[in-house]
């Protein structure tokens, strides 16, 4: 017979015992919709990547495209309700051709002329990448500047740090490095590398790709094991703070570290995955029980992080 590992968080347990009990349905939009997340984050003083533009209707496409084509810096196009990096497009540069057309140089789709780019945007507005398939908005954000350590490891994209926060207490963390296989995206099921981070030290202690343990990044061969995440304290505190934005008791917080601005809240997830357990080679149930049974109420975010570091091993 199967030997049950009681420590593993299963999908059934996650849905019935965590999501249904601790996540308020009314607050899902705050988490699912990046524009709402951004607005809320500002009122709570949570640092986020700078938003350059919102595009909400097809009518706004033309005027806003003109603004976009004049941008000097690179930027990122995101569907407001997209998940797992779906629909995200990084525009490195906008150039003009001889007959004053604009070419958008993207990482994922190569060079797009203005019509192709416009079509891409209107696809987002029509809800191609939305969670529920209905009308969506577009968020244009500044591109994050990757810190050197990470750039050396995974030049194909910026890694993000996923932290599971239960009732405001960070309980598990991993960092996802994009690979060539994953097409620059951070989705583990597409072939990105997931690395478990030791909460107390902020050091990577185990990595997986496609469910197999690895020690080095497959594209660059850089050592992952033992790598310390820069600004680790900040990252944890940001995760704990972010959980105050919405009444989502069981939350996945995605954080990026910008070269200049430090830890920034990228997005949140009200139904965080189970694969973090694979990256950490450890089940979540133990940590969940500790928080549910012992965690003291009414702590501020700094104390919550401190409590987690002391109590969750």
């Amino acid at each position: 017979m199967f030997k049950f590992n009681k420590d593993i968080l299963t999908n059934n347990f996650r849905i019935s015992q965590l999501i249904q009990k601790y996540n308020q349905r009314e607050d899902y939009p705050i988490v699912d919709n990046k524009i709402l997340t951004a607005k809320k984050a500002q009122t709570f003083n949570v640092p986020i990547p700078e938003n350059l533009l919102f595009i909400e209707t097809h009518g706004q496409l033309k005027p806003k495209l003109e603004i976009l084509s004049k941008l000097d810096d690179s930027f990122v196009v995101k569907p407001s309700e997209g998940t797992q990096g779906g629909g995200i497009l990084i525009v490195d540069k906008v150039s003009s051709t001889n007959d004053s057309d604009h070419i958008f140089h993207t990482t994922r789709l190569g060079s797009l002329n203005i019509y192709e780019f416009k079509h891409y945007l209107s696809g987002i507005l029509s809800g191609l990448y939305s969670l529920k398939g209905h009308k969506d908005f577009i968020l244009i954000q500044e591109k994050i500047s990757n810190i050197n350590v990470f750039h050396e490891i995974s030049p194909s994209g910026i890694p993000d740090i996923r932290i599971i926060v239960l009732l405001g207490f960070p309980i598990m963390a991993m960092i996802r490095f994009p690979t060539l296989l994953s097409g620059g995206r951070g989705n583990l099921h597409l072939g990105a590398v997931g690395s478990g981070i030791h909460l107390q030290s902020g050091k990577i202690f185990h990595s997986i790709q496609n469910n197999r343990s690895i020690d080095i990044h497959p594209d660059t061969g850089k050592q992952l094991l033992g790598l310390k995440i820069p600004l680790w304290e900040d990252v944890l505190e940001l995760a704990a703070r972010s959980s105050e934005i919405a009444r989502i008791g069981y939350l996945g917080v995605d954080i990026v570290v910008d070269k200049n601005k430090g830890a920034l809240l990228l997005e949140m997830n009200a139904r965080p995955g189970l694969s973090i357990q694979l990256a950490n080679q450890k089940g979540l149930r133990g940590a969940i029980n500790t928080v549910l049974k012992k965690a003291p109420p009414d702590l501020n975010y700094k104390d919550r992080v401190k409590w987690s570091l002391e109590n969750i091993k």
Binding site: N11, N12, S16, G133, G283
Partner: protein, 530 residues
Amino acid sequence: MNKKAISASFVLILFSLGILLYKIYVLKIPFLPYKSQNNWRYEIKINKNTYSLIENQLAEKIYLPIPPNLENQQLTELKIENMKYGTISDAPNGKLFVIDKETLQKHKQFKIEANIVISNKRNPIKKTTLDEESRIKYLSLSWLTEEELNLVKALNNSLIFKEDSPQSVLDKITYLLLDEFVIKPEITDFREVIEMKNGDSLSQAKLFMALCRLNNIPSRISFGTSVIDAENEKKVKHIRLFINEYYVDNKWQFFHPDFPNIGTIPQNFLLIHRDITPELELLNSRDFYSIQVKPVRKTFFDSKEYFENTIIKHDNYANFSLYRLPLGTQSIFYTLLLIPIGTLILSIARNFVGLYTFGVFTPILLTLFFLETNFLTSFLFLLSVFVVGIIMHYLLNKLYLLAVPRLSIMLTITVIMYVGFALLTSIDDNVNTSSTYTLNYFPIVIVSVFTERFMILLKEEGLRNTLTTFIGTLVISTLCYFVFSINILNLVMFNNPELLIITIALNILIGSYTGFRLNEFFRFKELLKK
């Protein structure tokens, strides 16, 4: 699992079993109804489309026959469309709904629907008396022209001797028709029929009748259709039949070359009208009358009889019994009551096994689609929608279309494919008569839901995930289809709907299971080793 859920489901199961046991042991209502006869739905209507083609052939009055009650058949429900525009004539040989030619021209759409129980017991034919007036009527040969009469007489003289007893006369006529007569539907001229002994089914019956009457045996032609039941044949076949009746030994006995056991009530036969007069011969015209006979359901028991014999004795319980409903509605509930079982299978497949499906209830809808049409065809249809959908996905990707027009294109293609499949599957069927393949909106609604979900998933999650989800969906809907096809389960649920409470209880138990799904054993294989 939490205690609340366990106790809640325990209470529900006890409650449901309580009702069941009370029913069986106190009210003495059996767990399963006894088997008995066969229910059919008879439908006759005047074909609007071809009506104008034969308008000039019409008599002043048009008749729609309503099947009579006989030893072997029982009319249980009757519905007439546009009833107020006609009258019902209560002839001794079966009711007729009579419409004036003018009314018909004005309204055109007339339809009779009836539920009929046909028993396949070999009931003996009852003795009847024949009064003098009827005797004269059934011996009359005035419907033949002089030339035809002479031809029949000549045929008769070559066949029958004066000293022949009525029985040997009948035997000779019977053998003539069995051995020599060849069915050739294109021959309808009666002179030719007599000379060549070829002709359509009606001419054959007329020849038999003419010979009988000539030999002083009262005889008539009746009209009906043979129904071969769905369980044995998969497909219901019904052929329009003109069948002869002759009056011998104080009994009206049947003869038709296709039916064995001469002299008994034919099996699998629905008698629609007795004594076809010339104005009713139009019943032979497929262009004018469309006649359909469909099984109401596959099981062999008469719910009306069951209701009256067993259930109605208990006033209070009878109020809650599904057998009170009209038969047509009942047949819907047979499937409807199985849906909770389907959802139970779905809950298990998703929460214990971890299969993924398009939407939550799409697999159940697909099961209904399978049931509504036929399994193999609809299964192949879904497969082809899936394959074409994937091809379209890659083709449409090149056009950079917006989401809704994209879906509209795919739906249009689905409709085209549906039309194609409907045509393909009906190739071997004779239009209007032998096909049970009924087209309605229901299947296409289901397929649209399916197509939409599947195209969105393909766009969002890519081919691999879509394929897994598609397989999951097919597995569940196929499983449900086979479960739904278990006849006994149909009966159990219909007879004991209180069992539905148990499915709620089981769902509560499944819903409070927080452990591993089967697929998580593979997903967390590495972790579990530790």
